[in-house]
Assembly symmetry: C2
Homo-oligomer: 259 residues x 2
DNA sequence: TTGATAAATTGTACCGGTACAATTATAATG
DNA sequence: CATTATAATTGTACCGGTACAATTTATCAA
């Protein structure tokens, strides 16, 4: 089976028109976004105090629980923290240049400032291997897209990526989509939502082929990172394996205590 | 300043009596815990359906919003996922033997089954270095405990740990506490709650000293992991640097899409 | 000035309600 | 029997309320 010989679909053009704030944003989402902008625009720093709940309620003219919901969201995102009896405070502690693992949207937020490019090494529809079958919980009959890419940051090799997408969920991919951001396409082109992901990683040494692609030496260290992405209904649709250049990759992760 | 020469404090004996379910558990916490036990005891698997919200409400005799809160907690912990219009489902996907990064309690949950031991390499009260001052946001006058440990898993070296605790928050540490679980002591001995943590990591090569401690070779790969732990009120109290043995360390991380 | 005590502030737990959106089951239709 | 329309199921958004716990501020005593 060859690439793109069976599916007809409306073409996808990224960034069509202005950045519409999604079709239907919920109240608490809008409030959270607005507050985040406020924090950024006013360059607030760790520990700075935000208006108290009651004032926010008056300002946005919603009920207390809607404000609470917005604040929960911001808290989970690591943008604020709340202290009972005291107030709401800004929590910004990210070091620059670190890949943020908290939001499973590829590299969207952590590396905004960076020049990310991709070289497509392979793109085809294949039958799943045992490994892919296990991780995506599918049978041998379920076809998947196999995507191999070499990703660059500022022109330097960042990682080797080998991804598998269930064709029933992602029916069409082409060279252009894959050379840009696949997740942007999933989100905006297919209007696909992501539910959650499982992520595994460990360290190992590069083999000869990997080393050559990353312009490193055989035996050099590497971070080996696996992800399984699920739709909101729990269905796994993407299994990805990444091998990171140890000289370029540094990661950030914010963890909240689950009360 | 020498160790333990200035603070008198009630002695700490771990596991005093039976595992009391904390002094005052909230309704939604108890429900979440009960449901988690139910899932484990009945060996439910990924995708298995749980009772619908209304039935849970009747069973636990609480309001809908309390059930919702409990389910939110379980969702954040990666134990369930909810699908609107469909139901509540079990989400268990952890590979065995991986360190779980989601819950910031040291190695508590991810490595339950494993034999974790520690060799204390150093324990003293010191003035903070520039690096510690920056990460804990303290001045040179604020004393900190410095703890150096070599941690073993099944008797094999897992990581080198160098930790700094603000003495104003953790006024007392001794060899025995430090040779066991520091976080258990913080939680149960000091009744300290953790708010959130910032975590950073990257890959690098071992230097000579590190290699010797980990029984590896100079230049071998290693995961270099830094954490800054904060109290619920936002105060940073612990800065830790870990160097992981690449042969033993593998990590798991569950990420939810923040709607 | 210090330190305890009381009061005000402020976020969280919990209730119970309406409306609605996404899914699934059922009925109708060809 | 497959397809489509309809209805029932089920979780989520949002409201507005009471009670309470943790923190901060104000007050008072020594």
């Amino acid at each position: 089976m060859r690439l793109g010989d069976d599916i007809i679909q409306d073409e996808y053009t990224p960034d069509e028109g202005t950045l519409q704030e999604d079709e239907k944003m919920l109240k608490y989402q809008k409030i959270a976004e607005d507050m985040e902008h406020y924090i950024i625009d006013n360059a607030l720093r760790q520990g700075d105090k935000l208006p108290v709940l009651e004032d926010l309620r008056k300002k946005y003219e919603v009920s207390k629980s809607t404000i609470t919901k917005a604040l929960e969201l911001l808290e989970m995102k690591g943008i604020i923290y709340q202290v009972r009896g005291s107030g709401i405070f800004v929590r910004r502690h990210r070091r620059k240049g670190y890949i943020n693992l908290d939001e499973n949207q590829g590299f969207r937020s952590g590396l905004d400032d960076f020049q990310l490019t991709s070289e497509v090494l392979g793109l085809e529809v294949v039958a799943p291997s045992e490994e892919v079958m296990a991780n995506l919980s599918i049978s041998a009959e379920e076809p998947v897209y196999q995507v191999k890419r070499l990703r660059f940051i500022h022109g330097r090799p960042l990682c080797i990526e080998e991804s598998y997408y269930k064709k029933s969920v992602v029916p069409f991919l082409n060279e252009q989509i894959v050379s840009e951001s696949i997740f942007t396409y999933l989100r905006e082109g297919l209007r696909l939502k992501i539910g959650f992901s499982d992520n595994f990683f460990h360290i190992r040494k590069l083999d000869e082929d990997e080393a050559e692609l990353l312009a490193l030496k055989t035996g050099d260290p590497a971070l080996y990172y696996e992800s399984v992405y699920h739709l909101p209904n729990g269905e796994a649709f993407d299994y990805s394996k990444l091998v990171y250049n140890y000289q370029e990759a540094q990661f950030y992760l914010q963890i909240n205590s689950l009360s």
